[in-house]
Structure formats: structure tokens, C-alpha cells
């Protein structure tokens, strides 16, 4: 296996084989992160492609001050949140869609999302959890997905989000409280 540093150096020289190795090595990590945030498989794949294209185009700007995976996570989180914001904007103007084109407001409504990696007996519960995650503010959503779905430590989450460890702890506490609130509403109304 080629060491990470050597791969990066080869990619900086425009080596396509190195690029392929990088994609193969980190694609699941990027895809899983994007999928957790956007909760749509097609969009997560598009984001994963865009993340690696961005890596190829701007590898010269990677100075090695952080881990390569941290840089990748940062691009993936940024691109995923950008997509969610643009979807939110589209939703706001959804009433214009029938006038402007053939896309209807229904196409912007997400269906129930089932993460493919969740164990079968947890599937139903995870659907409710992802619905609640979708209602979280961007930074809480990113912290929760990185920590819970990717299993990253608070320290690395803080490096990815460009903040401190206490700030991530606070983000996680607020995320859990908000999730509890949303889930309580759901379970109370479905009793």
C-alpha cells in the first residue's frame, strides 16, 4: 500500500494512477458522510464525485498542516451543507415551480431515508432519527453525523469544523437535546 504522503505528492504532479488510488481509498468515507447529511443516495454520489474533482483541482493548496482525511471531510461537509441550503432555497420558491417548469413541489419533498449500513432491527428507529437530524441546524447536524455515523473523535470533529473541542461538546449536547425534543413530539403524537 502506497503511503498517504507519497500519494499526495504524486497527485500534485498530476499522476492519474495516484488519483485513482486516492478515490478508491477514501470514497466510502466521503460518501458515508455526505449520505448522512443529505440523506439521498443520488445526491450523496454527486457530492462524492465533486469532492474528488475538487481534490484533484486544488491538491496544490493542501499544505499538509492537517490530516488528508480531515481536509477531505471538510470539503465533503461543506459541499453537503451547500446542497442542503440550495434545496432549502428551492423549497422556499417551490410555489413558482409549476409556473416556470415541470418540476413540482413534490419532487423537493424527501422520502423516508434508510441508511444502508444500519442493522435491520434498528431500521425503523433510524428512519425517525434521520428525520429528526434533518431538522437540526447545519453545524449541529455536521457534528452529530461526523461523530455518530463516522465515529470520529470530538478532537477531529473540531479540526474538521474549524472550532475547539469544548465547542464541539456543546454542539453535540445541543444536538442531542434538540433530537430528544423532536423525537418526543413524534412519539407523543403517534401514541
Amino acid at each position: 500500500m502506497v503511503p498517504e504522503q507519497a500519494l499526495i505528492e504524486q497527485l500534485k504532479r498530476g499522476d492519474e494512477a495516484a488519483f485513482k488510488l486516492i478515490v478508491e481509498q477514501w470514497k466510502d468515507m466521503v460518501y458515508n458522510t455526505s449520505l448522512g447529511i443529505v440523506q439521498n443516495e443520488t445526491e450523496a454520489e454527486d457530492i462524492t464525485q465533486d469532492v474528488f474533482i475538487r481534490v484533484f483541482e486544488s491538491i496544490s493548496s493542501f499544505k499538509g498542516e492537517s490530516k488528508f482525511s480531515t481536509w477531505l471531510y471538510r470539503i465533503a461537509v461543506t459541499k453537503s451543507l451547500e446542497l442542503l441550503r440550495s434545496k432549502k432555497r428551492k423549497k422556499r420558491f417551490a410555489f413558482l415551480q409549476p409556473l416556470l417548469g415541470n418540476e413540482t413541489a413534490d419532487s423537493l419533498q424527501p422520502a423516508d431515508f434508510q441508511h444502508p449500513g444500519v442493522a435491520l432491527d434498528n431500521k425503523e428507529r433510524s428512519v425517525q432519527l434521520f428525520k429528526a437530524i434533518d431538522k437540526l441546524p447545519d453545524n449541529q447536524k455536521a457534528a452529530f453525523i461526523l461523530h455518530k455515523l463516522e465515529g470520529i473523535s470530538y478532537k477531529e470533529v473540531s479540526e474538521i469544523l474549524g472550532t475547539t473541542v469544548p465547542a464541539v461538546e456543546s454542539l453535540m449536547n445541543r444536538a442531542k437535546n434538540n433530537l430528544r425534543k423532536h423525537l418526543e413530539e413524534f412519539y407523543r403524537s403517534n401514541r
Binding site: E45, T48, H115, V118, N122, S126, K148, Y187
Partner: protein, 112 residues
């Protein structure tokens, strides 16, 4: 009370539902798709740059700008000519009346 406890229990179990989840796997042909996307983006730009940098395109743009300038000048001249002649005609006929240049005194009316 029992109901409240069961809801809390349900919430806790839901919050733990992602524990031990496996990583979702990306498309096995992801690299091929990335390559295709990069080529597509490259081809759109290269097509645009290729068109712009062709000498024929540059000459066409220069010719268009020159023609537009000539047309603007021609239109401007025509407009000033017609405006001038109209103004001169109007001045000759209407100025005395317009500005009441005729000298009228009440002596004229009184003389038989």
C-alpha cells in the same frame, strides 16, 4: 408516568439506533464516473475557449463592432440634418409670431 417512561425509553433507543452502523459503500464505478464528469466539464470549457480563440470569431466580432459604429454615426448624422432643416424652416415662419416680434401700437388703429 409509565407512558412518559416508555416514551423516554423509546427516545433513548432511537438515539442509539446508529450505534454500530456500518459505513455506506460508494458506487464501485465511482472513479470512472469522476473521470467522465471531469472530461465533460473540460470539453465544455475547451469548446468555449476553442470558439473564442478562432481567428474567424475574432474577425467577426471586430466587423460587428465596426458596423455598429458606422451605423450609429450614420444614424446620428441623419438625425442632425433633418433636425437642423426642420428647425430652420420653423424659425423663419414662426419666430416673429412666437416671440411677438411685430411692432403694434394703438396709434395704428386710430389713424384713419
Amino acid at each position: 408516568m409509565i407512558n412518559k417512561n416508555s416514551i423516554q425509553d423509546e427516545i433513548n433507543r432511537t438515539l442509539e439506533s446508529l450505534d454500530g452502523a456500518e459505513r455506506a459503500r460508494a458506487n464501485p464505478f465511482l472513479f470512472t464516473r469522476i473521470q467522465a464528469k471531469m472530461n465533460r466539464e473540460k470539453s465544455v470549457w475547451s469548446m468555449l475557449l476553442g470558439t473564442i480563440s478562432r481567428p474567424a470569431f475574432a474577425f467577426a466580432i471586430i466587423a460587428f463592432i465596426l458596423l455598429a459604429n458606422i451605423w450609429t454615426l450614420y444614424q446620428g448624422n441623419n438625425r442632425t440634418d433633418s433636425a437642423n432643416s426642420a428647425f430652420q424652416a420653423a424659425t423663419a415662419a414662426d419666430l416673429p409670431e412666437e416671440y411677438n416680434l411685430a411692432v403694434n401700437t394703438f396709434y395704428d388703429y386710430e389713424t384713419p
